[in-house]
């Protein structure tokens, strides 16, 4: 084990522990930062027997010293948590879970939740987060500072989360993890962060959540969804960086380990508990990774899963996805009629137009297909999306 691995595993534990003990998230961040700086200097000749304990002690000592030197010493002393009594200890959550809940508090705007989670739990530097989200470092720095200030000023608790808090707000955590994954998936950049790319970070967060909050279907569903979708990373773009459709992907490039990880999550799903949106989406994703080829895809199962998903998340984009599944079970033109009905909601949605184009193409109506692709071009300013659309048109004509 080297110090980079220790950092990847221990950072969030140190921040969480000090945060819990001192009730101050900024102090916890500084303390963890100081402890790891010290470790970099002092561990050159080798790692201590218990790196986690070494770091925790160093961080706490720094925090105690800082508190002593501060003007509000007696106030801070009051904030410092004594070891919890047996009742309290049962009530309170694991500090790591508490830290996740604080970073994902709905009183913070979504961008801030994402940035804070990556910084305080993920351990990414401000520069790394800035580059992953394609903003400049000072902007990201300000975002993080404002978020931490809001936590202090509005009195967002960092140390009193209970199981009830978790039940109410674990959805925010999943939401943030999914956003991180989405950003990584969309940007398709190969930033080397701490655990790899942004998608790798998202997968790590999803795993962490399953460990800290076990036995919850949606947590396993999210991890499986991220794992399955990310397993296709190497097949999703061609040499020019343009997207490759699922039907055209070289399945030998799909990552079997990630698929295995997803499958293992699915085995944890408890049929006695309800299946939420992430669980259902992961089962849909599974149907794709399980199929030997596009032609072998079990569209009926996918269609049925979408039916279930629509009962809990009735939105037109999910409806559109169900229609795509339907198009492999029924007459394409009939499905096109259904897709047309979504016009009011989806006329601004790029993929509504490209889906129609693909359906027309499959039905042999090239002229209509080209028309739809041309409408799609107008909806995006992305150079690569334009190129991809033009290529689809060229392929047909």
């Amino acid at each position: 084990m080297d110090i980079a691995e220790v950092f990847a595993n221990e950072w969030h534990k140190i921040v969480a522990t000090v945060s819990r003990d001192f009730g101050d998230i900024e102090l916890a961040e500084d303390a963890a930062q100081t402890a790891f700086s010290k470790a970099h200097r002092l561990w050159r000749s080798g790692l201590p027997k218990n790196p986690g304990a070494w770091l925790t002690t160093t961080a706490r000592n720094y925090a105690i010293d800082t508190v002593r030197r501060s003007k509000n010493y007696s106030d801070k002393l009051a904030l410092m948590r004594d070891q919890p009594g047996p009742d309290e200890a049962n009530e309170l959550l694991d500090p790591q879970l508490s830290l996740l809940l604080t970073c994902c508090h709905p009183a913070l705007n979504l961008e801030s939740q994402v940035a804070l989670t990556l910084r305080l739990v993920g351990g990414l530097t401000t520069d790394q987060i800035a580059s992953a989200f394609r903003v400049d470092s000072p902007t990201m720095g300000k975002r993080l500072t404002r978020a931490k200030n809001k936590i202090k000023a509005a009195g967002i608790s960092v140390d009193s989360a209970t199981h009830e808090t978790l039940l109410e707000r674990v959805e925010s955590i999943r939401n943030v993890i999914y956003l991180i994954f989405n950003e990584g998936y969309a940007s398709n950049s190969t930033n080397e962060l701490i655990r790899g790319s942004l998608c790798d970070e998202a997968l790590w967060f999803a795993q962490l959540l399953c460990q800290l909050d076990p036995g919850v279907n949606e947590n396993y569903g999210l991890q499986a969804l991220v794992a399955f979708n990310d397993s296709r990373r190497n097949a999703r773009t061609d040499r020019e960086g343009l997207p490759v459709l699922l039907e055209d992907q070289d399945r030998t490039l799909w990552n079997p380990e990630k698929i295995g990880q997803g499958e293992s999550c699915l085995r944890h799903l408890n049929r006695q508990q309800p299946f939420g949106p992430y669980s259902l989406q992961s089962l849909i994703s599974y149907e794709h990774v399980a199929a030997m080829s596009f032609e072998d895809t079990n569209w009926q199962t996918i269609y049925d899963l979408y039916t279930l998903l629509l009962t809990i998340e009735p939105n037109p984009i999910i409806q559109l996805n169900q229609y795509v599944a339907l198009s492999y079970l029924e007459n394409t033109l009939g499905v096109l009629d259904k897709v047309e009905l979504l016009e009011t909601e989806l006329s601004d949605y790029l993929y509504w137009h490209t889906t129609k184009a693909q359906l027309f193409a499959r039905a042999g109506q090239v002229g209509k297909a080209v028309e739809c692709y041309q409408n799609a071009v107008a909806l995006t300013s992305s150079e690569s999306e334009h190129r991809w659309i033009r290529r689809q048109i060229d392929k047909m004509t």
Binding site: A153, A154, G155, I156, S160
Partner: protein, 117 residues
């Protein structure tokens, strides 16, 4: 920490007639009593309608006084509670119980903690 719970709602929604307003009164009374019993209540009032409001701004040393409320939104300020709780989540718990939260909004704003020493 002290929090101001600002109660805002669109005058076109929520209870309209005298009967409807009278029917709401017990809910408000019950909440006020619950807050007082819990020891969190520091104050609270219902406000007269926005037509009675006056807004003042000071610009370049001049007082600019205008008729009406400050915000150009459909929702108008109807009242407030001043409470003291340990953290934001507790304040939000109380805010969620406010009868107008169902048809309006409650802004939860921390009060500056100016030390008196």
């Amino acid at each position: 920490m002290k929090y101001l719970l600002l109660l805002a709602s669109d005058p076109a929604v929520g209870p309209q007639t005298d009967e409807e307003l009278a029917a709401e009164m017990p809910k408000w009374a019950a909440l006020t009593e619950e807050m007082a019993k819990a020891g969190v209540l520091q104050g609270g009032e219902a406000l007269q309608p926005p037509a009675t409001a006056t807004t003042i701004q000071v610009r370049n040393g001049e007082r600019v006084i205008s008729d009406g409320p400050y915000a150009e939104t459909k929702e108008v300020l109807g009242g407030f509670y001043l409470i003291e709780t340990d953290n934001l989540d507790e304040a939000l718990e109380w805010a969620a119980k406010i009868p107008s939260a169902i048809y309006g909004s409650v802004e939860v704003r921390p009060v500056w903690d100016i030390p008196t020493t």
